[in-house]
């Protein structure tokens, strides 16, 4: 009797300690951006390999990184970070190299994605989608909006309508740098300081409505809470397709001072519960038809060369494929480390708290 009881108590305790949600053989844990995956692709993968895919979502890269640091590194199999977080993840040992022999479809990628500058030789990354971060605004409010960051940063261009900035400080700082003429990808401390000062002035304007992430900003615009903000080209098209009436008056624009271009890549966490399945999943996504299905669902440009014949027409024109003139002005967000990362963190925390 007492032995039974203590055995019960022990097993309950052990279950608590070990965490009841221990990863199982047949589960894949995918940690992805919100609204970034076609449910049908997940269903197809689950049916093909007889597994369950557990999806978790993040709205920003800092959020993703903090979840990995808080134990996620041994709980998620696949993460989908953007280019400028890739070196950071590699150097902190949060991810593991890919075994290309398990990913035959890797060859489907376009050449520039097989050797990206943020991960030479693509040892850790398999490109997922690529896109741009631009300004989005209500064209009824701003019928003559300039193709410029001044829509956000110049109180004379937008004196009286609420607007938002990005939740991720690096994008804001880049935008402010571009507006000030230092270029979107500036990293010199003087340029940054000037940009941070501009951000502090901007956030203290009466019409500033807050820092929020790219996807929710579209909802705010659609609901009329804000009239200008920042978002991603594909999300803009995705929601426009879903609600054409509301989005008729919303426009997406790449400012002439330059803006962000990004590549999101699939990576496998260092202590992934199920690395084999993770490799199979990456291979599945890199399949020509699945890759096209993904882009057709997401409205983002595909890094998959083999997928091209299956892509919808909308994916071959702006804003998914930026015009050549715009393309020249797009830059990667710089990947920060060491002192420059700390300087950035301090500037950004200063912007947030003042």
């Amino acid at each position: 009797m007492t032995i039974n009881k203590s055995a019960l108590a022990l097993s309950i305790g052990a279950a608590l300690l070990a965490g009841s949600a221990q990863a199982q053989e047949n589960k894949l844990y995918l940690f992805n951006w919100t609204e970034y995956m076609d449910p049908e692709i997940i269903e197809a993968f689950e049916a093909k390999h007889d597994v369950e895919v557990v999806q978790n979502y993040f709205n920003s890269l800092p959020e993703m990184l903090s979840k990995l640091q808080a134990g996620g590194v041994s709980q998620y199999d696949i993460i989908v970070p953007s280019n400028y977080y890739v070196p950071r993840l590699i150097k902190t040992g949060l991810v593991q190299p890919l075994d290309k022999s398990k990913i035959p479809n890797f060859d489907n990628l376009m050449d520039q994605f097989k050797d990206p500058i943020f991960d030479p030789g693509a040892e850790y990354t398999a490109a997922y989608q690529w896109g741009t971060t631009g300004l989005v605004y209500n064209s009824e409010t701003f019928p003559n909006a300039p193709k410029s960051w001044s829509l956000l940063f110049d109180p004379e261009v937008n004196p009286e309508h609420p607007f938002a900035l990005m939740g991720d400080g690096q994008v804001n700082l880049g935008g402010a740098c571009a507006y000030l003429g230092h270029g979107y990808d500036c990293t010199d401390p003087e340029g940054w300081k000037e940009a941070a000062r501009l951000l502090i002035e901007t956030k203290n304007r009466e019409t500033f409505s807050g820092f929020s992430d790219g996807t929710p900003q579209l909802q705010q615009l659609a609901r009329g809470v804000t009239h200008a903000g920042l978002t991603y080209n594909g999300d803009y098209l995705y929601f426009k397709e879903e609600d054409p009436e509301t989005f008729a008056s919303l426009q997406f624009m790449i400012p002439d001072e330059g803006a962000e271009m990004w590549v999101d890549s699939m990576m496998i966490t260092a202590e992934a519960p199920n690395p084999d399945l993770a490799h199979q999943f990456i291979d599945f996504i890199l399949d020509a038809e699945v890759g096209a299905q993904l882009s057709n669902f997401n409205y983002y440009a595909s890094p998959n060369a083999a997928a091209e014949p299956y892509l919808d027409e909308v994916l071959t024109q702006p804003p998914v494929q930026p015009s050549e003139a715009d393309m020249e002005r797009l830059r990667f967000t710089p990947s920060l480390e060491g002192e420059s990362l700390q300087v950035f963190q301090q500037l950004w925390s200063e912007v947030q708290s003042r």
Partner: protein
């Protein structure tokens, strides 16, 4: 005369405060039936946001997690807290200052400090030993930790309110300590146990911050799901889930009212 105006203005203020308390909840409920995706204008009645909820596996599993978390943590806290409550009463003449401090600690610690310490600690322990992986288990541990003091204090104050001679009588009546516990102790403190369980359950359901920092990939609770949805910007669906939760709370309130009425009568 002056008294009457005072009373009247107080009545007015009472109704104003009630409106203040219930307006936000009423607006959530109203807009959960809004036909359009607008937070400002009500354009017509529709069930569409509720329809979206049905069959949303994430919400159902978040609901299940919330329930498992609240029930399991409340049961553990009830057992552990009840023991402390009794120990504190029985040995109240000893110097138990350290115990009092220990018990008040979870109550006075700000949520955010509580949640972050647990998270940082669990991560470190997991790195060293492999135990305490973030998930429902760590959330239960964290919730029990903040529930124990409330249970202990409720049980303790119930014991203090009892006539000490009852204990002597029980000693004469029942031979063994086990019998004393089953036939005397537990029935006497039953009301305290019920309200302690109820309070623990409420505290668990009401918590967001501590859950948020101790959760794992598969253990999102309803508040965590709603937080994510707000951050994502999908408003009308949140209205619908929130309305269901408000309705549940309202039902519990009415039940507890009837319950207390019956006891009075």
């Amino acid at each position: 005369m002056r008294k009457r105006t005072l009373k009247r203005s107080l009545t007015g203020f009472w109704w104003f405060t009630l409106a203040f308390l219930y307006l936000p909840l009423a607006v959530v409920a109203l807009f959960s039936f809004n036909a359009s995706n607008s937070a400002a204008r009500f354009t017509g009645f529709s069930w569409r946001w509720y329809e979206r909820l049905l069959g949303n596996e994430e919400i159902l599993s978040a609901f299940a997690n919330s329930m498992v978390l609240a029930i399991v943590s409340s049961v553990i806290a009830l057992v552990v807290g009840c023991l402390i409550g009794y120990g504190m009463y029985r040995h109240r003449h000893r110097k138990l200052g350290w115990l009092i401090v220990l018990i008040y600690l979870p109550i006075v610690l700000p949520d955010i400090v509580f949640g972050i310490s647990e998270m940082a600690f669990f991560v470190q322990v997991h790195r060293l030993t492999g135990f305490l992986q973030p998930g429902l288990g760590t959330m239960i541990i964290a919730h029990v930790t903040f529930q124990i003091p409330f249970v202990a204090l409720i049980v303790y104050s119930r014991f203090v309110g009892l006539d000490p001679t009852l204990f002597e009588a029980a000693k004469d009546l029942y031979a063994t300590p086990t019998k004393r516990v089953i036939h005397f102790m537990l029935p006497t403190i039953k009301p305290a146990l019920i309200s302690a369980f109820f309070l623990s359950f409420t505290l668990s359901v009401d918590d967001f911050v501590i859950s948020f920092f101790t959760a794992g990939p598969e253990s999102a609770t309803l508040p965590i799901y709603i937080w994510g949805a707000i951050k994502k910007g999908v408003s009308p669906e949140i209205n619908a889930i929130a309305t269901l939760m408000i309705a549940a709370v309202a039902i519990v309130a009415v039940i507890s009212l009837i319950f207390s009425r019956r006891r009075q009568a």
